[in-house]
Symmetry: C3
Subunit: 472 residues, 3 copies
């Protein structure tokens, strides 16, 4: 998969020669722009020390990538044989060359998938590997990556610079001390790695170990969180700290985008029951809905951009969750309703010009039906880029085709790579820029826009919309 | 956006040269056919007097177009600065040149949207403007339109004739006296402007000012509406009057397409509670469901085509609704279920060959799942064209791709422009005819149909299906 | 429609010359592979005796095809005029030439539909007819088909061999004696026609005549089914018999994919109420959900592949159902939820490598949202091909575009023709192979895969995936 396709300067473009020529022309004007990464899950520790390294090729490309793990698991390959740590400390494969061999032999499973495209691109662009990955080439490819990873030029900070990243936003718990971000600052290194405030673990009253998270929140904020009002104060305190550390945004996960404001006494009562370990599922859902309202209020006040990622049924497979923990591929999307669920929040804060509210979805049927109409009306609301499974050639294309006509481009916010897999970042941005260039070229060849518009739209999608929406 | 694209005789067609050639060939056979406008919201007053005019360029192109207003508002432009009247009489921009300037400076927001396409087309086709609209050209374009609008050739009736409109159906409340339609008749002008019967305000028991609407209904029908049975008689009386005035159809809006027949005593009891201002939301929903059944019965009897437009959550944004009233861009679609909701109505009337029941949707996921299968089975049911946000290049294309294989073409009813913006009508029909020609050409180049079939399908989509379904 | 398109060796391919060339190249490598038909509804009686025949052209092409019947009915053609038997024995058209004439005159209704494509292909490929079917050619075409059908070369077994069918799976009630399958075995004919175990009628406690089905189950299994545990034993007994007769799979229909394990006493209690004719709708739904769990357990034990076809609202139109019985086009899809509904089953059996669970859908919005993510995680679950209305050019294409990026190709199971209309089988497989070749060629011209991958994917989609998933 790797070599042949990668050499193609027109990859991911439609085959029509005219559209292809224009797509390439548009792509060329943005391909060298710096990368903005306003939402993702890269570990800031990688950049805390100059000498940090990525480990083995398996640690680089397989173990942190749950897209890869889930596909291999779905085809009957136990996670143990891929070296995934078991929570019970049971035996798992230790030989990273053997893990790599299994991966390479099964790399054909990724034909036509974004993981396949990104991995092939990474191998070639980052490591200069021209062989196609399979069982036969596995060993040789492993050797080559291993040798590169030993070099200073392949350390995280060096790649950060080589990748031309202008800003990389991490995602950090409300109770994170941000010590790695502090270490980056203290080191004098100029790479811009900034935190994002994600309070899910303290907001969701049924999080495993919630009381421990609350205790950590008390410690870090210096506010003893023994009441709802103290909880709010502690969160505001942490947001202020995150802002000082450079944060531009918050991020919120929820099973549904349900929003609802509780009367303060009710919020307090639920919080007190949670402190006694007695909150019910229903109460926790109400509290989450209420805290989305509160988070919007805080954003209006402190200017942090608010992101909402709803609709993922977490840990759908208890067998895997109990053996290996979360984030192993067992999160599954559900149908998601936005029009009624977001009404309270949008009614109260959606007309506020000081507020930016970026909404994502795992339910593509909501693009044209609910999300584009909402983002095309409320000044505060913007539509986030295709998330997770939909960060793909067809997913990105469907997003443009199903949202632009109603919401326009300027109610969207550019691209998010949303990845844990740091070295895949250039491949992801390249794919996104190419898909957008191809889409815009499609508008040109159909006489819908002229080249002047097309060049503006290219810069918007590749760089400017993200910069503006996330205030980078 | 305007000039370059408009000159392109192949605009909106796929770039493949062979498909493009066939698309153009098909388009040419229908481009000069008269326009049938079986559903829309043009004000009949425009045609009541020969000397009626469109007002200023802002009154022509900005103020009546809530697609335009919502996009500008979504980007933080207050409706007051666009001259939208406030209900409280508060100050709004009065200078139409300044409104136009704001619009022109922000016209880039409409790149890739149907509003952008239609407006660019109107400026060029109707007003001969070759400049691209932006902040710099705003003044010059305004002057030109203003000058044209002063001429008799740019009055509504003159444009009606120039646009080659064969029939224009307006949408009129059950309590409308149809005085403008009468004036058109009396004037001797030959333009065919006919009413459509829309009883929503009297059928929905919770309409603001419902009792006033009922009083008006009593006055106009001469039937004192003090009971459910009198209500039915008064509606039948009005339908007869609309028919005499040329009406071919009725139109019904509802939050959901839920249908349910109430026993007469229950309908009467709910109606009596409504007369006392005591109907509940649940009762109103039941009554709406029941009245859809009654409307179907009346259509079976009087032959008026029944249209159903469900799934819009009206006035989602109370801030805007309270300041400016309805129809300012704050209506948002919701998920819509048809299979179970329409079952009572289809079971009772769907097999009746005297009945035509045209169903629309704002939930595209229902096209292939529910609507095409239902329209492809029940003789009475037909599928309306893409509505509202989906009257767009991609929306029209998705409609064809997701409904034709199951429902065929003959269970659909051609195009509706559904607009308040009269001068956009030719641009809307042109776009629809081009998209259909391109789709049909796609079938030819893929060997799915031959040219003989393609030519028939082109005439069906551009003219014949609408004529037949709406009995025009 | 017939002649022109059929001669086109590039039919159904995209028009781009490069993609078309590659599509044809890929198609050529699979076009002569044998046909695997792992799921369908062909009557095994056709093959029980060497001298069986298809009857008249109307009996061959119109009467068994509810796709054809529903389209004609939707356009106001009474089923009586098409010769469909009435349950009350009322008069229906007996003259098959007249039925054929009506069909031919209305064949234009099928423009752009899969039925239109398959029928045109059958007429040409199976019967060598070059005329396009319409009112004028009807008589001549009828004569030609009639003459062919009289020849031994056009008997079912002869066509089975000419069609190069490697295996044809029928769908058979749990209470079917499989006498036709036995007759095929006994005859010494080598055609592989194997049964599939479909227990719907005994599992759904509200099936019309359920007690009769239970009695038949008792008789055939030799187990007096007077309790839930005996019911389970009888089903296991029948499964064993089906396996001996060559069955590889079971098939299950359900209104929703809801799964839930009942405690054995509760299952027994519900079953006892059913034996007394007193089971409620709610109990029946619980029992169906429970039996899906039980069927999965049995599959884990006996190795039969489990298929699930949910989401069809059967007999939506009682007028047609009461006059003509089921399967006349009155089944309509509904919205279908998989993530929560399948959780119990997948949690208990989805990680089991001995289990193959193939899930279908009539709700395409679930492809990218729920089905591809589930199939891309659970080892047991595979995604069935586009079902029913979606076995079409656009339906097949949407399936690939909306599932592959998340689930990969190897969590899908190849093509199912799922037809009652035996002579349409080659046309259906040809269309599917062409659509897949075109899709894969699209990946090649976009630089996503190389030709080596493309050739593998072509063989997978056309043959290997079905062979592996269904253990043929």
């Amino acid at each position: 998969m790797a070599s042949l396709s990668k050499k193609n300067p027109n990859r991911y473009f439609d085959p029509d020669p005219k559209q292809r020529r224009i797509a390439y022309e548009l792509y060329e004007t943005v391909s060298a722009l710096p990368l903005l990464c306003p939402h993702g899950h890269v570990d800031p520790k990688l950049f805390a020390k100059e000498e940090a390294s990525f480990g083995t090729p398996a640690e680089l490309l397989i173990l942190p990538d749950h897209y890869v793990l889930r596909m291999l698991y779905s085809q009957g390959i136990p996670l143990e044989t891929l070296g995934v740590q078991r929570l019970d400390g049971g035996p798992v494969e230790q030989d990273h060359r053997r893990i790599w061999q299994i991966f390479a032999e099964n790399f054909y499973l990724f034909r036509g998938t974004p993981s396949g495209i990104w991995l092939a691109d990474e191998l070639q662009s980052v490591f200069g590997i021209k062989d196609k990955l399979n069982g036969k080439t596995a060993e040789k490819v492993y050797d080559k990556i291993e040798a590169y990873l030993a070099r200073p030029a392949f350390r995280p900070r060096a790649l950060f610079e080589r990748f031309n990243i202008e800003a990389l936003c991490t995602t950090d718990a409300a109770t994170d001390s941000l010590s790695h971000h502090q270490a980056i600052k203290d080191s004098g290194w100029k790479g811009r790695v900034i935190p994002t405030f994600r309070p899910d673990a303290v907001v969701n009253l049924l999080t495993l170990g919630w009381q421990d998270h609350i205790d950590a929140l008390s410690n870090l904020s210096g506010i003893a969180v023994d009441s709802y009002s103290k909880f709010i104060s502690a969160l505001e305190n942490r947001r202020e700290f995150f802002k000082k550390m450079g944060a531009k945004a918050t991020d919120h996960s929820a099973l549904t985008p349900y929003t609802e404001e509780l009367p303060p006494p009710e919020a307090e009562a639920i919080f007190q029951r949670a402190l006694k370990g007695k909150a019910t599922e229903e109460e926790a859902a109400s509290f989450t809905a209420h805290m989305l309202m509160e988070s919007a209020r805080m954003s209006v006040e402190d200017g942090l951009v608010m992101q909402l990622h709803p609709g993922s049924y977490r840990n759908h497979n208890p067998f895997i969750f109990n053996l290996f923990g979360p984030d192993r591929g067992g999160d599954i999307p559900i149908q998601t309703e936005y029009t009624r669920n977001l009404k309270p929040l949008l009614n109260k804060y959606g007309n506020n010009l000081n507020f930016t509210f970026i909404v994502f979805t795992l339910d593509e049927s909501a693009y044209s039906r609910e999300l584009a109409p909402l983002a095309g009306h409320y000044p505060a609301m913007k539509l986030g880029p295709p998330w997770w499974f939909f960060d793909s050639i067809n997913g990105l294309m469907r997003y443009r085709l199903e949202t632009t006509e109603t919401a326009g481009l300027h109610n969207t916010v550019g691209f998010n790579d949303d990845t844990r897999a740091f070295p895949s970042i250039p491949a992801r941005h390249d794919l996104s820029r190419r898909v957008d260039a191809n889409w815009i070229a499609g508008l040109v060849v159909r006489g819908i826009i002229d080249m002047e518009d097309a060049l503006e739209m290219s810069k918007d999608t590749a760089y400017r919309l993200a910069k503006k929406a996330y205030k980078l």
